[in-house]
């Protein structure tokens, strides 16, 4: 990528951020429900409501509110959480780390097993292998997350007691957080007991989180592989007497990667934000839960900040996807426009 592409990317990111900030700002104020009312609950008096609305700056005009929001944001200030009174950024950072750790783990599981299952089904099309893999994928996608999560807890944590039930570390573990990612921090501290503990805590929620994207990836892989495997150059490769595994891995999978990568990119976003249920079931202190709680609690500043951070992450993921497009298929230009 040359510098003009990079600068174009930056312009795009800025445009997206402006769009996202306007949309989230307006939508928050369009939904009914008043932050002050929620903070005060069932026995709020009109004077208390008015006073709190004033304190929160909600009695100013939308334009003024938006200007303040943007001005503060440009200065790196995401504002104060309306619910807790602490700076939103302090609330977000530790939770973001928890979510990133969980979603990366979930995505790794989903990608590895999804692609594997997809290849197997494509290669053994219309055999028992194919049917088993695809049926499991369907079960994966229609299995309610909470059901799977609770069953895993019941079987592995309550019945066999081989896995921890919830949280990120054993209760009472004290470790100085550097990155906020338990596994990374444990490695930095060279504390392998904590590393193992963190890994064990990660397994059940990551597996739970991975099922839906795994199913989607498996099916997309299968269909993309089937499509590619019927094309002329694969037939040619076969005719030339290439070994079947080479044909499949190098040629077929290589070319099937484009749609797989697209789906991966979209689903990474889904994982980042869609981990609400998994985080709830496994008491995982992550951002997915926080952003929904914040929205339900009408914590405008918290929701705005979270969404902007999601937007940046998504932009980075999209950038990665596009770079991989170009890498895999030189015919497609990186900038995409």
């Amino acid at each position: 990528m040359n510098s003009s592409v990079i600068s174009r990317r930056i312009v795009q990111l800025i445009l997206i951020m402006i769009g996202v900030s306007v949309v989230v700002f307006l939508m928050l104020r369009m939904i009914p429900g008043d932050p002050a009312q929620l903070l005060l609950g069932e026995l709020a008096s009109p004077e208390e409501l008015a006073a709190l609305r004033h304190d929160l700056g909600l009695d100013r005009s939308l334009l003024v509110q938006y200007t303040i929001f943007v001005k503060n944001m440009l200065a790196g200030d995401f504002g104060i959480s309306m619910r807790t009174g602490t700076p939103v950024i302090n609330e977000i950072i530790p939770r973001l780390a928890a979510t990133v750790e969980l979603s990366v783990a979930g995505m790794v599981i989903a990608t590895v097993f999804g692609i594997l299952a997809g290849i197997l089904s494509a290669v053994y099309k219309n055999t028992v292998v194919d049917y088993t893999a695809m049926l499991s994928a369907l079960v994966g996608v229609s299995m309610p997350v909470f059901w799977l999560g609770l069953m895993l807890i019941y079987v592995f944590a309550v019945h066999f007691q081989v896995m921890p039930m919830m949280g990120r570390m054993e209760m009472g573990t004290e470790m100085h957080a550097i990155t906020g990612l338990v596994l990374v921090d444990a490695l930095i501290h060279m504390d392998f007991a904590v590393f193992k503990d963190g890994l064990r805590h990660l397994v059940l929620p990551a597996v739970t989180l991975s099922t839906i994207p795994m199913a989607i990836i498996a099916r997309i892989t299968r269909s993309a592989m089937l499509e590619v495997m019927n094309q002329d150059y694969i037939r040619t490769a076969r005719a030339k007497g290439m070994e079947e595994s080479v044909v499949i891995l190098r040629h077929a999978l290589g070319n099937a990667f484009l749609p797989i990568i697209t789906v991966l990119g979209i689903n990474m976003g889904l994982l980042l934000g869609g981990a609400v249920l998994t985080e709830t079931i496994f008491s995982w202190p992550g951002l997915g839960r926080y952003v929904v709680d914040s929205l339900m609690g009408r914590d405008y500043n918290a929701v705005q900040a979270c969404i902007l951070i999601f937007a940046v992450l998504m932009a980075l993921i999209n950038l990665g996807v596009d770079v991989m497009y170009a890498f895999l298929d030189p015919r497609i230009r990186v900038d995409g426009d």
Partner: protein
Amino acid sequence: MKTFVSLLVAVMMFMPSLSMAASDTLIWGRGGDSVVLDLAQATDGESIKAGIQVFENLVKFGDNSMDVEPQLAESWEISPDGLTWTFHLRKGVKFHDGTDFTAQAVYDSFARIIDKDHPFYGYGKWKYLSLSLKYVSNIEIIDDFTVSLTTEMPYAPLINNLALWLCPILSPKAMAEYKDQIGMHPVGTGPFKFVEWVKDDHITMVRNEDYWGGAPKLKKIVLKSIPETATRLMALQSGTIDIADDLDPDAITLVKKQKDLVVKENASVNVGYIAMNTSKPYLADPRIRQAINHAVDKNILIQTLFQGLAIPAKNPFAPSIWSYNDEIEPYAYDPAKAKELLKEAGFDFGREIELWAMPVSRAYMPDPVKTAELIQAYLSAVGVKVKIVRYDWGTYLSKTSNGEHDLCMLGWLGGNADPDNFLYGLLSADTAQTPGASNVAIWKNAEFTDLVKKAQKTFDKAKRTDLYKKAQVIAHDEAPWVPIAHTKVVRCFHNRVQDVPLRPNGLNSFEMVWKK
């Protein structure tokens, strides 16, 4: 296949180790995280639950009752005009940061809430002033251990307010140091010291060795957020946690079946009700509202959806609160009579009325949606067509306080357990002004309101009782609500935990608790 095998091996490698909490550490699982630990800013139970381990007030409620007892004030007296309250403070008490507790701390803790010129005023958002210090016009330090509060009018419920979480005494040094972040760094005089708060995960507290009441028995309390009820239940069943709060009635039934678990119950001060919007013409006739009261079988409701963990309500507040009028005859379940009353009042049976169902369960309404469905069926049995409407909680509170509903479900956890809280706060004409009504029946009865306001200014408890009993009769006859139930407070814990207290509002300090 290879990957699968290696994964299996990896799983086997993880040694089975389910750690039980050490015997002097209490792991306390609950449904949500605290919001703010400066209790003068808190309105949610989870904040209060944690904060009252750290803070103390001038006075407190009894361990298993709502009677006011001394705490940081050893005694107090009221001036003959009923305006000035003088408190004599306990000596030799230290805050967790080592500073001494004196009248200055009381002054700073209170003045920051009501005095706009106080340097700490801007450090927080002070909530529920009417439940704390709204009517206090002056705070005076008489000497190091004597302080007086003056109210702008005689205000009898003040002493209950002072026992409420909203009036904690904080270390002035900490308030000056942490400024607007005091809510993250609570420093009080209570039996436990705050150590750490990992948001949405846990709060850790250790015992205050220098506690004036003697060091508590537990060394450490970990309050763990476990938002999913099913997980919390399994954590309790497997012994991973010692206490599980906020379990639903069916889960409590399961807990009761397990031998090493204990369910402690106590009468509560809450009320769950259905408010009928009296400002809607088709609900304006009291006979229609009485008919709706007659149509609902509360006993079946409580037996099933509440699993018996409640008593049916007939008044706006629970019998555990003084001045409860037990002479009132509840509206009996009588569909025939309900139909008759509706006809008599000329109710339009073609009209579909809306019943708003809360989207979240609260202690006073454990399964609101199912409750709404059951009530819908009861009403349709007497010919009233009902449509259930749900909004998310934020929208719900806003819209009900605007009076946009026909029937809506709500409740109140009990606040300071003073009848005033229920009768004035939830049913007077003053609080029925939309928008922002907390009287969501929008019921404006002058006679009722006069009685309740008169009671606020009356110090003689017998006279107040009399006024409140009269007010309850009006509320019953005019029927702005269908009072549903007073849900019991319940605490589920492992039998290795001993001496667990349970106050009617469910909020206790755990200084006496210990583990076997």
